[in-house]
Amino acid sequence: MSRIFEMRDVTFAHHGGPVKVMDNFSIAVEEGSRTAILGANGAGKTTMFYTLTGVYRPQEGEVLFRGEPIEYTKEGLTKVRSEVAVVLQNPDEQMFCSLVEEDVAFGPLNLGVDRDEVEQRVDKALRDVRMSDFKKRPLQQLSGGQRKRVAIAGALAVHPEVMIMDEPTAGLDPQASMEVIELAEKLHLQGITVLISTHDVDLAYGWADAVNVLRKGKMVFSGTSEEFYSDAENVHLCGLLSPATFNMNREVSDINGISPSPYPRNVSSFLAKFGGGQKAGRVFCVSCNEGDIGDRYEQAVREAGEDAKIGIYGTDTRYALTGKRVDYYFDGIDSCFSEAVLGRDSILFYDSVYEPLLKEQADTLKGFGSDVGREVIQ
């Protein structure tokens, strides 16, 4: 993998003042990675995002995009911003238009995308964030959570290569947060680099490939979550707490005298580690392209049996199954694989784009000794 972003020994102070908000700061972000940025309030996460995208120009050090130093000229910055979309923590800071559709169209129009194409992108982006019904609404009538989703749609409409989201789930209810994660996974599967800053260590633990931890304007850790959380003192100094799944695994492994590795990061792998042993059940997989399910719901229930639990992953599929019996409306991958780990068959309906996540999950569970069979419903 190549590095899409890099910062080398960057120092930044607002207006060149005495307080270094970023202090001899270095980071490398791999192209296509799922990268989490962690740190206490005031550690410098937001400043780092502004510096990466050229909004702030550091006094010392350099910022590289695709291996080239950012040029702080109009052309140079346009180049970065045509490929990098940022969703700010407070959506009001990036909304300028009065109507939802105008706001989502703002980015692509600015980049010179033609009107028809923009129209399509706006519709698609609003559907991805479940805001299609609000297309013609004034922004000021929307709630905080809704505005946040419009801001994400605006970023999607740019078709970025890198998506940066600053605290994307803050203030969102649990299902809306889960939709943001589904979206982040979709972008990842499309090859887009996704950077998320968050205070939700449990969420980051389940999602990220790499974590970068900031403290008082310095980068104090880059690597895997487990390596970071194993150093309790550093976790403490950074204003963080370790994720629940990490703690429980460490505690139970310690008492049972087994190795903490492999580390479960979600419910199904946790169950595989501590509740496994039985023969795994099967997951009947129904891949839905743009919500096209046809008569496969009935077919799947026939094949898997009436008792099989039904899970969903993806917005299109969730729409398409409105009114049907469903057990796990959200996080269907983890839930259906949990069923399988416990020895029961289940049915998973998912947007076809998520296919690779199923394989990833099945491979992970193999590492925990649970061999989940997948049956494809055509």
Binding site: G39, A40, N41, G42, S143, G144, G145, Q146, E167, A170, G171, L172, D173, P174, Q175, A176, S177, M178, H199, V201, D202, H236, G239, L240, L241, A244, T245, N247, M248, E251, V252, D254, I255, N256, V267, F270, L271, F274, G275, Q278, V326, D327, Y328, Y329, F330, D331, S335, S338, V341, L342, G343
Partner: protein, 383 residues
């Protein structure tokens, strides 16, 4: 029977008539000193309901009873009620009016016409509680979001309320700050304050609340213990929520007979204890060392012969004492849970504890002993 402290009776409310009801025939009861969580999706009506319970808004229909008496909405009565029922808004910028921190925290108590010394003491205590003592003289404008959030919390603490309503108190806070807020909520509960909290973090409310009320499209759809609600997956979905991960793990493991379904674990430690099979049969002792804010922790630990054990800290008096002599502590956060887990692993531990929090600190160890998952000796050392 728990005494009902606050009650909403058939409440309907709309901000503007043409927009329809934001609250639609809401009835619920909040028991005295019951740890209560209000859950629901964005826009379900949680904050609006809070504003009605605090008499900031007057319902179109229905009534609110406080201590069994309907709220009169006469200015004098409302002021008296609000001196007892405090609300912490989600957005701190809605609550800060004064130029500096000290004045802002003193605002409420000053309105109560308390003596100057008392006000001063309350301000100092409240600022300490939220870890902002050193910012006493700072201008509020200069503070970060997380700091402002803590100052607003200090402001309501200084009122010494009987009821504290907290709207998303941990939103936007980093994990340690969020934990500190939860410990303060527990401390208030232990001193007899009725705490009501809304939060999108279902794991957090699951470990804390005794009773939940679930709002959906302006209606209250569920009131009761959390487990009964989370077991109804369709209802959880309709309410825009997700089940807590500890609940899901327990459901999964109990469905194949690995663990009994009940008692329901509410915390990581309780879940871990149910799963862990400590074959050695050796469990540690949880020494709960009660201290006052003037205690020299290090000497007391030495005096009791408890040196060299893992130590945790819990509650305001213990934090005050720690702040004074700064002894080395292993668990500044989640002290009771971490110390209990040490005992599960066969080691002794010391929890330096505010006496008022002792019962709360024993909870996980008692869960473990009563469930037969372990045999932890609980040794409360009183002064």
């Amino acid at each position: 029977m728990t005494q009902t402290l606050l009650e909403a009776e058939n409440i309907c409310f709309s901000y503007e008539k043409k927009d329809g009801n934001v609250l639609d025939n809401v009835s619920l009861r909040i028991g005295k000193n019951v740890k209560t969580a209000l859950l629901g999706a964005n826009g379900a009506g949680k904050s609006t309901l809070f504003s009605i319970l605090n008499a900031l808004n007057r319902p179109g229909e229905g009534r609110v009873l406080y201590n069994g008496e309907p709220i009169s909405y006469r200015k004098k009565d409302i002021l008296r009620m609000r001196s007892e029922v405090s609300i912490l808004f989600q957005n701190p910028n809605d609550m800060l009016f004064r130029p500096n921190v000290e004045q802002d925290v003193a605002f409420g108590p000053t309105n109560l016409k308390l003596p100057r010394d008392e006000i001063e003491k309350r301000v100092d205590d409240a600022l300490f509680a939220v870890g902002m003592s050193e910012y006493k003289k700072s201008p509020t404008m200069k503070l970060s979001y997380g700091q402002r959030k803590r100052i607003t919390l200090a402001g309501v603490l200084a009122m010494h309320p009987q009821v504290l309503i907290m709207d998303e108190p941990t939103a936007g806070l980093d994990p340690q700050m969020a934990y500190e807020v939860m410990e303060i909520a527990e401390q208030l509960h232990c001193t007899g304050v009725t705490v009501i909290m809304s939060s999108h973090d279902t794991d957090l409310t699951y470990s804390w609340a005794d009773e939940i009320h679930v709002m959906q499209h302006g209606r209250c759809q569920y009131s009761g213990a959390p487990e009964e609600f989370y077991a109804d997956k369709a209802a959880v979905y309709r309410a825009g929520l997700l089940s807590p991960s500890v609940f899901l793990m327990n459901e999964g493991l109990s469905s194949i007979g690995k663990v009994e379904r009940e008692p329901f674990p509410r915390t990581q430690t309780q879940m871990s204890a149910k799963i862990a099979n400590n074959r050695s049969g050796k469990f540690g002792t949880l020494h709960i060392l009660e201290v006052s804010q003037d205690t020299d922790i290090t000497s007391l630990i030495g005096e009791k012969g408890l040196e060299g054990l893992s130590t945790g800290i819990y509650g305001m008096a213990a934090r005050r004492a720690h702040d004074f002599s700064k002894p080395a502590i292993d668990f500044m956060y989640n002290g009771p849970e971490n110390c209990t887990m040490k005992c599960m692993a066969g080691k002794d531990s010391v929890l330096v504890c505010d006496p008022i929090m002792t019962d709360s600190a024993r909870k996980s160890a008692e869960f473990i002993n009563e469930g037969g998952y372990g045999d932890i000796r609980i040794d409360v050392i009183r002064q």
